[in-house]
């Protein structure tokens, strides 16, 4: 039978899905063991037990210097920044995206501008950001917003533009004003699509968060990673990387779930195009 027609059964599928994770873990363990055999103090690929110890230290015991659970503090700080930034970016994405996607005047005025702005490398603008917004939370949140919002705006505009024109006509024949069309026709149909775009932006958002925290911060997951890099504490770095990956993955799944729950009509509407 052609490979294209061969399907693993449920059990084999589950094993296959685990396989690459096991391979990566195995490769890590072998590499780690080899390096540790050469230099027991090696910090690059810590053993599983050192990773466990790092987790224990960071997540389950208080830091003697500050009396806090560091991983908790870091996670709170990072998630706060991320949530604030994504909320702002979503608001910008919705307002500008709907305006550009729906209103010809806005499309003419802002379409090209947003396309260009989305190409500006935000990291290079950090100094300006610091000086205008200060070193505090504002500039970190702003970096994420600047990095994420243009993509959201473009995406939302595209998806608003993809709504069947028949719907806009229909709404007008029901007497809707532009504002009512936005409110009752476009916005509710844009929200579930926005979640799709947002899911794609979670990766970049974490990236900007880490970059911002690496530059000036007192807490946060990115801060800690770049701080402990100073003494090559890979045990902490790897623990944090896994934790960030898990958080990002959960956010992704959470948004997917939210989409399904909050917009039950959407899956079917998307399938039928």
């Amino acid at each position: 039978m052609r490979l294209i027609n061969r399907r693993p059964n449920a059990g084999a599928g589950r094993i296959l899905a685990l396989l690459p994770f096991i391979v990566v873990l195995g490769a890590y363990l072998v590499g780690s063991a080899a390096r540790l055999a050469e230099n027991p103090n090696d910090k690059l690929l810590p053993s599983l037990s050192s990773l466990g110890a790092a987790l224990q230290r960071m997540a389950f015991s208080t830091d003697p210097r500050t009396g806090d659970i560091l991983m908790l503090v870091d996670t709170e700080a990072s998630l706060y920044r991320l949530a604030a930034a994504l909320a702002i970016a979503v608001a910008i994405g919705l307002v500008l995206g709907i305006a550009i996607g729906l209103l010809p005047y806005f499309r003419a005025g802002l379409g090209a501008f947003v396309a260009v702005v989305s190409m500006v490398p935000p990291l290079a603008l950090l100094p300006i950001l610091f000086i205008t917004m200060g070193l505090g939370e504002a500039s970190k949140i702003a970096l994420i917003v600047i990095g994420v919002a243009p993509c959201l705006v473009r995406d939302v505009a595209l998806r608003v533009g993809d709504l069947p024109p028949q719907q806009m006509i229909k709404a007008q024949t029901l007497g809707a004003s532009t504002w009512q069309i936005v409110l009752r026709v476009v916005l509710p149909q844009t929200l579930p699509r926005l979640i799709d775009s947002l899911r794609l932006q979670i990766g970049p958002a974490w990236l900007f968060l880490i970059a911002a925290e690496a530059i000036a911060s007192e807490s946060g997951l990115g801060y800690r990673i770049f701080l402990v890099r100073r003494y090559l504490a890979m045990d902490v770095i790897l623990t944090y990387v896994i934790w960030i990956t898990l958080l990002a993955f959960l956010m992704d799944r959470g948004l997917a779930l939210l989409q399904r729950r909050a917009f039950p009509w959407f899956a079917a509407a998307r399938a039928t195009g």
Binding site: Q166, Q167, K170, T173, G175, Q180, P264, W265
Partner: protein
Amino acid sequence: MSVISVKDVWKEYDDRVVLEAISLEIEPRAFVALVGPSGCGKTTFLRMLLSEERPDRGTIAIDGAPLPDEPDSGRGVVFQRYSVFPHLTVLGNVVLGLELKAAPLLGRLFGGARRAAETEAREVLAAVGLGGAEAKYPSQLSGGMQQRLALAQALIAKPKVLLLDEPFGALDPGIRAEIHLLMQRLWHERPLTVVMVTHDMSEAFTLATRVIAFERRRNEPSDGGRYGATITRDIEVWPRRIAGQPRPSRTSSLPGRDDPAPLTGANRDDPAIEGATP
């Protein structure tokens, strides 16, 4: 006094004439079917009646006044697809028309006003045979039910003119027969002037009081698009149909003509809503 009067209307796209010298008077409560080969400009004509497009030459007037600049609630429309809002329930789709009219700011009604609107919407839904399906989303409806919903939605705004662009073109023959009956009933019951584009001659003659054919008379490639389609036939359907005076015998016998109706089960329009009473 004629409801719609079209005078010497021309329409070009990119220097290609699509419609040429269309003149037409449509009486009040007429049911006009527009037929013609693919690409001859039927949809374009309907879009002009809707103010979605503007004629390049000529004028269109309704009740003597020139057409408004843009679509409004005086003219309802049902398209072949995308006529209903996928994010609203059946009831929500119909209530919407009332909400938009009554709540300019929020486009939403609450409390008693909403309940009153819902009652009105339920009546219209019952009239199109969608009683019981109020809580479903359009994607849960069959194609025929979606078009019923689109009709209900258009009707609740009480338009004087109803424009239909191949509204039943995507439906199975059996379902089409059922919805034809509905369409006729609605036309008889409500003060509507209807203009319907269709590909299907039998549909045109089943429903309309008047069948108008668009056709491009000169179609040599050497013309380079200098000639558009125009009205080539204008047939009064005989025996004459008069709005408000249904003749059950003729209308109910017609659908059989091209439908495998004897073969279809009771619920075939509606596999998704088993148990509901349409």
